[in-house]
């Protein structure tokens, strides 16, 4: 299958290793990966901060960049949720009905990574090896908007060497929420503190999730505490094998790619 990879603006700019791992994984599973160079952002940050009019050309750019793609995969539940639930609506409200139709049509071919692996490719054992104690944070938009359910758990349980430990209070938000983390920095920090306390209580080496943004938040907090527990994106775990443990993982800040 020919898969178009949507890196997402945040991953592409700040944690490119996550997109790289996604591509590596899909290629290892025998699929052709293409990376449209015209891609930028899904528009979610603008919409969620109140700039829905400004988001319209961003949506248009996204639709242009991925036009004609057979399947689009992104390593981010939150961006895929925005593509599914916001893009067409934003365009329609602006009177751009053609764009709305195109965006809705594109959304039908856009998948979050774990959903793509389990539902479209029909695999749960991707042949990964990751000999670490790991806890999984089900990010809000993956959990409640995309309803990815137990798919990430099924993928993680099939990883050789991986010890999966349950995260207490898993379904509580980490406090990221895009610009919420800045506009309501104190409340966001209070939520993060509780999330970190739960992560640390598991004594896991690694906290993983399907959203780089939430991981940047949790990882940024753990790093500030010098906690030692690191955050690694699900794609990076699934891309790791005996032969090649993904070398530069998210919280080892990507000094080079």
């Amino acid at each position: 299958m020919k898969v178009a990879l949507f890196a997402t603006c945040l991953v592409d700019t700040l944690t490119p290793t996550v997109a790289r791992a996604t591509a590596t994984l899909l290629e290892r599973l025998g699929h052709e990966v293409v990376v449209p160079t015209g891609q930028a952002c899904c528009g979610q940050m603008h919409v969620n901060t109140g700039y829905r009019r400004e988001a319209v050309p961003i949506v248009a750019n996204h639709v242009r960049a991925f036009a004609g793609a057979e399947a689009i995969v992104a390593p981010s539940g939150s961006c895929v949720a925005s593509i599914h639930h916001q893009q067409a609506d934003v365009a329609r409200r602006a009177g751009e009905h053609r764009l709305a139709a195109d965006a809705a049509e594109l959304a039908g071919r856009t998948y979050e990574l774990s959903q793509f692996l389990v539902d479209v490719l029909g695999v749960t054992d991707v042949g990964a090896y990751y000999p670490h104690r790991v806890t999984y944070h089900p990010t809000c938009h993956s959990l409640r908007l995309l309803k990815v359910g137990d798919r990430p758990f099924r993928l993680l349980r099939a990883v050789r060497g991986l010890e999966l430990v349950e995260l207490p209070g898993a379904e509580q938000c980490c406090g990221f929420g895009g610009t919420f983390a800045v506009k309501n920095a104190d409340t966001s920090t209070a939520m993060l503190t509780d999330k970190m306390a739960n992560v640390l209580s598991t004594h896991a080496e690694v906290c993983t999730a399907g959203d780089a943004s939430c991981l940047m938040h949790i990882g940024g907090g753990l790093s500030r505490l010098r906690a030692g527990t690191r955050t690694v994106h699900l794609a990076e775990i699934l891309a790791s094998t005996e032969e090649a443990v993904t070398p530069n993982q998210t919280t080892r800040p990507a000094m080079s790619v």
Binding site: A7, D12, T13, L14, P16, A23, V35, T37, Q39, A40, C41, H46, V47, N48, T49, G50, Y51, R52, R53, E54, A55, P57, I58, N61, C140, H141, L143, R144, L145, E171, Q172, C173, F176, G177, G178, F180, A181, V182, K183, N184, A185, D186, T187, S188, T189, A190, M191, D194, M216, G220, G221, S223, R224, T250, T251, R252, P253, M255, S256, V257
Partner: protein, 493 residues
């Protein structure tokens, strides 16, 4: 308190919002500022954490028990939507039916008008005191202050409202207004304020409840006028409904000669049969019980049973302005169960006072700004991480996150001059809609590497708004190249 200040903001249809200077829909400070203070209160955090986790567990158990919860929820949503679409007809029918059964219906455009009507009705009875059933609508309009201003004594009879009133505090939760107080704090308030209370009073909840019983018993038996709210008003029969637990509601609805009920216009329900949906959704969502201890219904006046004079005050106070917004009007579907507060990670940490309105939590963050006009509560739509837990538990499926996002846009679009944030978002939008500009912008972000000076994370001290992040979290140093760049380098276009 009742001074008339400049006229209310108006919506795009010109429908008036709730007036300023009366009632409790606006706070003194913005949400982030109020939250900052609340977050430092360790006792508050502990009380809220304990109470909300208790009620979350109870709700989850009794909801899981019903095999048709999803169908009930969908019926509740659809019933509310259908009611709003013909709100005028249902209200006129309600008025006809209540009047036919011996009640008197009054209409109030806003808080001031409602307060005037109730005050006039109470004074006409010659009574000097009023007993009250917990009611969000009367809290919203500041009725107690209005009645006290003419020299009437007002007694809140719900236990939590009593705690708030005796403690000269403000309510912080829709269902449990004193949720921010623990048993020790409540004991202290009772020991200090209830005349003749047993000096050996302990903090055992049962003992505290008994102290409230003893304190209010005499007042119930001598009360001549009661004021209540209503959970539902059934148009086809004129039947009013109050859902409660303690029996204080029954005392107020049954013993006085005169009953005055203040009901928001959105609380009308078309038919008696519709209650079969709401009476299953509400108790399980609010107190986590299969059914609340007492539900009272009455239609007008019943000779020989209960008050012989009944007044229904129908309150607008900004509700029609909410109705005019096709996205936001869903907030009027709320049945005040407070499930969204109990699951909200923001509410659980800041408590209700930070919202500044009698309607706190997620539903408050969409309701208050619409009732007052967004600019009077501009920080509330942002008081959410959009985690969606509220939508998941809402018994009538109000899509609160989508309304929050909608109101954020209403706020942004109401600004006449763009501020720094707006300029930044516009610039970013231009870049994100043009690949060439976007790649330039991404390269520019690499300037952050200069600040990092070879370290893996950026320094803590950065200018606002980034400082909001770096105060408590590290920010990774941007990489030397983006993924798309390096991929394109390797694979060609």
């Amino acid at each position: 308190m009742t001074a008339t200040v400049p006229g209310p903001a108006r919506t795009f249809l010109g429908l008036p919002t709730a007036p300023r200077g009366v009632g409790h829909l606006r706070g003194d400070e913005s949400f982030p500022d109020a939250a900052r203070t609340a977050l430092r209160d360790g006792q508050l955090r502990a009380n809220l954490g304990h109470a909300t986790s208790t009620i979350r567990g109870k709700r989850a158990r009794v909801v899981a028990e019903l095999p048709d919860w999803a169908e009930l929820r969908e019926a509740g949503r659809a019933l509310k939507a259908a009611t709003m679409a013909r709100l005028d007809d249902h209200l006129e029918e309600l008025e006809r039916q209540v009047t036919a059964r011996g009640g008197t219906v009054h209409w109030a455009r806003d808080a001031n008008e409602a307060n005037e009507i109730v005050t006039r009705l109470v004074l006409a009875t010659g009574a000097s005191e009023v007993v009250k059933v917990k009611s969000m609508a009367t809290q919203e309009i500041g009725l107690n202050e209005a009645l006290e201003a003419v020299g009437l004594d007002v007694f809140e009879t719900d236990l939590a409202e009593l705690i708030v009133q005796l403690g000269e505090d403000k309510p912080s939760h829709i269902l449990v207004p004193a949720i921010h107080k623990n048993r020790a704090e409540i004991r202290e308030i009772f020991a200090r304020t209830i005349p003749g209370v047993d000096p050996g009073l302990t903090d055992e909840p049962r003992q505290l409840a008994m102290a409230a019983r003893a304190h209010l018993r005499e007042r119930f038996l001598r009360a001549r006028v009661a004021v209540s709210g209503a959970n539902f008003g059934i148009a086809e029969t004129g039947t009013l409904t109050v859902v409660e637990s303690e029996g204080n509601g029954r005392m107020c609805l049954t013993l006085p000669e005169t009953l005055i009920t203040v009901m928001g216009i959105e609380k009308v329900v078309p038919t008696w049969r519709d209650l079969e949906v709401f009476l299953q959704l509400l108790p399980r969502s609010s107190t986590g019980e299969r059914m609340n201890p007492y539900t009272s219904t009455w239609a007008g006046v019943t000779p020989g049973d209960g008050p012989q004079e009944f007044h229904l005050v129908l309150l607008d106070n900004g509700r029609t302005a909410v109705l005019a917004d096709e996205v936001g009007r869903e907030a009027l579907h709320c049945i005040r169960c407070s499930a969204c507060l109990n699951v909200c990670p923001v509410y659980e940490r800041t408590g209700g006072h930070a919202y500044g309105s009698v309607y706190p939590g997620p539903i408050g963050a969409v309701l208050s700004p619409q009732l007052t006009g967004v600019e009077d509560n501009a920080s509330l739509p942002y008081a959410s991480s959009l985690c969606g837990a509220c939508y998941e538990v809402c018994p009538v499926a109000i899509d609160i996150p989508s309304i929050l996002v909608h109101l954020r846009s209403e706020h942004v679009e109401a600004q006449e001059k763009p501020n720094a944030e707006a300029l930044a978002f516009r610039g970013l939008a231009r870049a994100m809609s043009n690949p060439r500009l976007w790649h330039l912008a991404q390269r520019a972000s690499r300037l952050g590497r200069l600040f990092a000076r070879g370290r893996p994370t950026l320094p803590n001290a950065l200018p606002p708004p980034i400082s909001g992040w770096t105060r408590s979290r590290d920010l990774p140093t941007p990489p030397t190249s983006t993924f798309v760049e390096s991929w394109t380098r390797e694979h060609g276009r």
